[in-house]
Amino acid sequence: MSALAFVNARLIDPATEYDGPGSVIVAEGVIADVIYGHETPSGHAGIRVIDCDENAILPGLIDMRVRTGEPGSEPKETLKSASLAAAAGGVTSFVVQPDTDPCIDEPAMADFILRRARDIELVHVYPAGAATKKLEGRQMAEIGLMAEAGALYFTNGDEPIVNSKILSRVLNYANGFNALIAHRPKEPWLSEGAVATSGEMAARMGLPGVSALAERIMMERDLALVELTGARFLVDQVSTREGLGSLERAKAKGLEVFASVSINHLMFNELDIGDYRTFFRLDPPLRAERDRLAMIDAVASGLVDVIVSNHTPEPAEHKRLPFSESTPGAIGLQTLLPALIGLHHENDIPLIDLLRTVTQNPAQLLGLDAGRIAKGAPADLLLVDIDAPFALRERDILSKSKNSPFENRTLQGKVLKTLVDGRIVYEI
């Protein structure tokens, strides 16, 4: 692998808060040097020089919440197809959810994911471990052994742990390993059977809805248990204004609480389900516009720490159905970066701040040496033409499932090259 010099670039690095001209030298899989300003690096013999033509160099994105179908549901998505989509989308590290079949509730399964990713040799793939055995919410899973095997955090997937005593034990136990627990704020009884957020829209469409308050109710319980146990805790996708209020209070108390939001809840609202298009049936369901705007403010202010794609591949047989009979979820690995760039343009949030939620922040939360442009850091880098517009057509989608809510939308921001550990894993 010869050394590469990316010259004449715009570097955008949230970790150093630098957004300006510069060059990056990559050698032996790591960033060998970073040169700030217009100076051209010299004295590097035998190096391949790439003129970036003032396009942007960004740290590779880290997506904390991705589903594939491997193992168990390979027709939906394999680790390979998800990795291809990730590389094309500029995601150089992603964390898979434990709700596979069999689920990732013991160290051998965590090891399986890591070994598969190593064999595929595209992007970094890490497992999240199940917080309870078989994700049933009844018995604590082997959190310590899975952490040792390489699981980055622990979650019960889309189904919350209903029994408060069990969640409190999980939080308490995980604390002994300083492990991060992610939990969906979803009050199960209120949410049962709901396919949309209750309100005028769902009522008019005749869809069973769940109150946005179901999120706050669960968050209040979860955050009280966090206060009791002192655990490191991630609110897995906050999506309502009321939920943000709970989050703000917990953070003000100094708890080690973090929150993620899915890109879909920043881009879409309940009106998008208007023609019963199942690609907009999501979990949590799309919310009111006031919620969407509140989420954008929370990202801008730093109240919400992480943006995730919540990549959830569902094949046609699960989506070409009446709205309430379809399976919730949308893919997002390939569109996460263009969507962020769109958010930047529409809402006047500095791009560097949005990038922080998919680079520096998740890297810190997960303890990954990634997400920054710094000498000695792994060369997980993107070369991006930030202004290039393109329309996402079905045939461009690399995921095996094509359920993208961005299909046929015009997006901005084309990934030109993706590097993982200094290897070019994608380029156009």
Partner: protein, 323 residues
């Protein structure tokens, strides 16, 4: 034998209270007295003739509402070697099984005029409740998750005989502290004797406020037993293993089971203790448990009889004084 009797006479002092219900019933001088007396009984127990007549005419009743092998036989032997008439009441087949309340059983027994009543019960506070209703001396042989004071006393005896002193030693109590009456009694006695006490275990098995017991709390075993002089392992109750307090026995063994590798960080010459019965391969590796150069586990059983003889003898002396 005269030597022994003389020694006993000089060392025997009346127990500070009528009952021995909890470790805090003893002040540091009481503990030292009992240990000094117990030392005599250790020597006696190693002779071929072990019988004394110190408790002749006294009646000792073992009332075990929970199964026990070593504690019950330890008290039985202690009573017999001191010359007391000793009976074991098997509560599983008694009128308790027919629905009699604890108080009724106690009142009935009291009418038979025992002098010493040794009680084990699954409910915390049961021994104290009985003590209010009977005229004899009550010894708590384990009440629920509260205390097991004679176990702590025998542990103290084992440590003092191994190291020559208890003060200044660092003792790491490891494992299921939450459900352990042994740990609660030991924390009190060890603190009273001037040891540095650490509690080591997963957060789910350490009471939330245990740092207020005059102990340091560790959730990483290597940190917790680093430079410790004594590693005191606790039994993990089978019913608490599978997913409720810990995920699995293999995970527990990996992080909190005592093996050679972990023990290597303890102080040079460190000793290992366990109140028994052990779960080999769960909280302790057989390699450690059976290594007599580090394990005091067999000593603990031997010291158990001597320590209980000391307790029974001084309680009887107290009864004598009260009369």
């Amino acid at each position: 034998m005269t030597d022994v009797n003389d020694l006993i006479r000089t060392r025997l002092t009346a127990f500070p209270k009528r009952h021995f219900l909890a470790a805090q019933d003893l002040d540091p001088p009481d503990i030292a007295n009992l240990l000094d007396l117990a030392d005599v009984f250790v020597d006696l127990n190693r002779q071929s003739t072990k019988k004394l007549d110190l408790l002749r005419g006294r009646t000792l009743v073992n009332m075990f509402f929970e199964n026990s092998t070593r504690t019950q036989s330890s008290f039985e032997l202690a009573g017999k070697r001191l010359g007391a008439d000793t009976i074991n009441m098997s509560m599983k087949t008694s009128s308790v099984a027919k629905g009699e309340t604890l108080i009724d059983t106690a009142v009935t027994l009291n009418a038979m005029k025992p002098d010493l009543l040794v009680v084990r019960h699954s409910a915390s506070g049961a021994a104290a409740l009985l003590a209010q209703k009977v005229g004899c001396s009550v010894v708590n042989a384990g009440d629920g998750q509260h205390q097991h004071p004679t176990q702590a006393l025998l542990d103290m005896l084992s440590i003092r005989r191994a190291f020559g002193h208890v003060d200044g030693l660092t003792i790491a109590i490891c494992g299921d502290v939450l459900h352990s009456r042994v740990a609660r009694s030991n924390v009190i006695l060890l603190n009273a004797m001037g040891a540095n006490v650490r509690l080591v275990g997963p957060p789910t098995l350490i009471p939330g406020d245990a740092d207020q017991w005059g102990t340091e709390v560790y959730h990483d075993m290597r940190e917790g037993i680093a430079d410790a002089n004594v590693v005191m392992m606790l039994r993990l109750q089978l019913e608490r293993m599978d997913g409720a307090f810990i995920p699995s026995t293999r995970e527990y063994y990996r992080f909190f089971g005592l093996d050679r590798e972990k023990l290597a960080v303890a102080a040079k010459g460190a000793k290992v203790m366990h109140p028994g019965p052990m779960n080999r391969g769960v909280e302790i590796d057989s390699e450690i448990a059976d290594d007599l150069s580090v394990s005091l586990i067999q000593d603990q059983v031997e010291m158990g009889v001597a320590a209980r003889m000391a307790v029974l003898a001084s309680l009887a002396a107290r009864l004598e004084n009260d009369r």
